[in-house]
């Protein structure tokens, strides 16, 4: 299929359709509403389920219900909506049913604004709901990558019977870029063996629950859940590296921040500053081990984020205390300029040279 000029949110919605998404439940919120609007038109055309819920609370529980039935199901929202969904997210995690969430992040806290930010990093990777769990979190930096990760989201959700988030900032949702959509996948009609379908002659009933009464059953369940998360950590880490081989200074950034950082890296290389870019694609599981390896020979890191510094804590944990980790970014909806990153890296490089 040929490349076409696509708007981020529309591309994501169409990619979900092409990935065989059977049902969508959602509630309007900027800057992701185009996802909902595109699906409102396309899903019924294809005989699939689209429903605008009365709230994000209802939407997430509709997703939960459809997930219990073993359908490929998703929702999309933005920061305040994700906050409202957290109860259902936690239940879904505990029930081990597959579901896909798209969070087109906006400025917070509170109602904040609709500018692009990365202010939900902590929320989606660490505190997506009560209890001990993490969703898989995928962070695309281009529209093509968003399309590709959309299909992967459903596959991972089903493979591990878990939640997968695609977390992007509003800039990627709103911009247009040439990209190629995959061919159409039909909706898979057969249901997994654990799904709620009515017994239909099965010799046992299927139950989906997140309730484990007593310390022993819940401890056991949590051990199983943690083992699954460990398996995901072992298998599913994804990242991208730019000029890291000889780098003495590494920028860590994802999403739009990584795109800006990439421009800065290319320009700084022309000044012979040995800087590279490390871009996590999975925010959870975080590429801790690879960053740790790089820290063995890279003395300084710069975390560039569109927030007050959230991923930086994961970077610090990965690289250890002997390595400098600086921060550039701000909350509130401002995309950093390449020049700002360049200035910051030059300062850091001067310091490094002075020490050497």
């Amino acid at each position: 299929m040929a490349k076409e000029l696509l708007k981020g949110n529309v591309a994501i919605a169409e990619a979900a359709i092409r990935a065989g998404c059977e049902a969508y439940f959602g509630y309007p919120i900027t800057p992701q509403t185009e996802i909902l609007e595109h699906l409102a038109k396309r899903m019924p055309e294809l005989g699939r389920v689209f429903l605008q819920a009365e709230s994000e609370v209802a939407a997430v529980n509709m997703v939960y219900g459809a997930a219990c039935a073993g359908a490929r199901v998703m929702t999309s929202s933005s920061s305040p909506g994700i906050s409202l969904m957290q109860e259902g997210i936690s239940y879904i995690a505990s029930s081990e049913v597959p579901a896909v969430f798209v969070d087109v992040m906006r400025g917070g806290p509170g109602l904040g604004n609709i500018q692009p930010t990365q202010s939900d990093y902590n929320q989606v990777t660490k505190t997506a709901g009560h209890g001990d769990f993490h969703p898989i979190v995928l962070a695309p930096a281009t529209i093509q990558e968003a399309i590709d990760l959309m299909a992967l989201s459903f596959d991972l959700a089903e493979k591990y019977r878990t939640l997968v988030f695609m977390a992007l900032d509003g800039a990627i949702g709103q911009m247009m870029e040439p990209a190629e959509l995959p061919p159409m996948q039909e909706v898979r009609r057969e249901r997994p063996s654990w799904a709620l379908t009515g017994k239909q002659g099965r010799d046992h009933k299927n139950i989906v629950t997140s309730l484990y009464l007593g310390a022993e059953p819940l401890t056991k369940f949590n051990a199983k859940l943690q083992a699954k998360l460990a398996e995901i950590e072992a298998n599913e880490i994804r990242y991208d590296e730019l000029l890291t081989d000889d780098a003495q200074l590494l920028i860590t950034a994802y999403g739009t921040a990584a795109r800006v950082a990439q421009t800065a890296v290319k320009r700084l290389r022309q000044e012979n500053i040995p800087v590279g870019l490390f871009r996590p694609i999975t925010l959870w599981p975080f590429p801790t081990e690879r960053l740790g390896q790089l820290a063995g020979r890279v003395p300084a890191f710069l975390s560039v984020e569109m927030n007050a510094g959230q991923m930086i804590h994961d970077v610090r944990e990965a690289v250890g205390r002997t390595v400098t980790v600086d921060f550039l970014g701000q909350p509130g909806g401002v995309i950093p300029l390449p020049e700002e990153i360049e200035d910051k890296v030059r300062q850091m490089w001067l310091k490094l040279e002075a020490v050497a």
């Binding site: 609370v57 219900g65 459809a66 219990c68 239940y91 709620l196 009515g198 009933k205 299927n206």
Partner: protein
């Protein structure tokens, strides 16, 4: 005298035959329930199971039971089932039904669950005319958490969070759910019944049957509100609790049909 002895002694004259007139419904699981002795949750379960048996729906039914004393209901029915978060069962049932339109999906919700925390979900599910059935257990109290005031608590009723009796000036008035939902075009069937004696239990069962029939005929949202007892948190014997339900709940919550779409009325006449 046992039936067998009876048969033997009068063998020559009558040869009476022993007929099974009531047995435990197949749509109930063998598990013993954790409900308090005499709690009408059990009666409601039994009636639903009897209706599922009679309509041949055991293989098609999916139960959604949210938090409340009946949170473990999936252990007590022998049908597919899910547990839902507090108040969210109608939304979950919506998701299930939309992707499994051939299944028969029902929620089983308490009054704290449905009328308080989950009021938005149930109203919008009715607004959409969602083809699901709601069995609504109104026992005028939060049973599971130990007897706090519910939106359905009767004025003056003492609960652990209205220790001096529900004061309507502070906490408002009981919610009439069957009436409230009957006002929505998406609602096909909204009625109130009581479980306080056998005559009313039989009527309740008929209503549950009609509610499921509404779903089978794809007529829209159906709900049966069942006035129920909570002997434990009301602080009464099971029998006294049923008397209390009759004397105090029925005046506040009149029994009756608040919405029955014509298609269901015709069906009834033909029967």
């Amino acid at each position: 005298m046992t039936a067998l002895a009876f048969q033997r002694s009068e063998k020559k004259i009558l040869k009476p035959i022993e007929k099974l007139v009531y047995e435990r419904p197949h749509s109930l699981d063998e598990n013993h329930t954790h409900y308090c002795p005499g709690c009408t949750h059990g009666i409601a379960h039994r009636l639903i199971a009897e209706v599922l048996d009679e309509l041949g729906l055991q293989e098609k039914a999916i139960l959604v039971a949210p938090v409340g004393c009946a949170v473990l209901a999936y252990n007590y029915f022998d049908v597919d089932g899910a547990e839902a978060a507090h108040g969210r069962a109608p939304a979950m049932a919506t998701g299930l039904k939309r992707v499994n339109p051939d299944s028969v999906v029902f929620t089983y919700q308490g009054d704290g669950d449905l009328a308080s925390i989950g009021i938005a979900e149930v109203i919008h599910t009715a607004v959409r005319g969602e083809n699901i059935t709601v069995i609504f257990i109104n026992n005028a109290i939060y049973g599971m958490t130990g007897g706090q005031m519910a939106p359905t608590t009767i004025p003056g009723q003492v609960t652990t969070s209205s220790p001096n009796g529900r004061d309507t000036a502070q906490t408002g008035y009981p919610m009439q759910i069957a009436e409230l939902l009957s006002g929505l075009p998406g609602t096909a069937y909204s009625v109130r019944r009581s479980l306080h004696d056998t005559r009313h239990i039989i009527q309740a069962k008929k209503a549950i049957r009609t509610a499921f029939e509404a779903q089978l005929q794809e007529l829209g949202f159906s709900i049966v509100e069942l006035l129920s007892s909570c002997p434990t948190n009301w602080g009464m014997t099971p029998i006294k609790a049923l008397d209390w339900a009759r004397d105090n709940m029925i005046p506040q919550y009149p029994l009756g049909d608040y919405k029955v779409v014509d298609e269901l009325k015709k069906k009834r006449r033909n029967r």
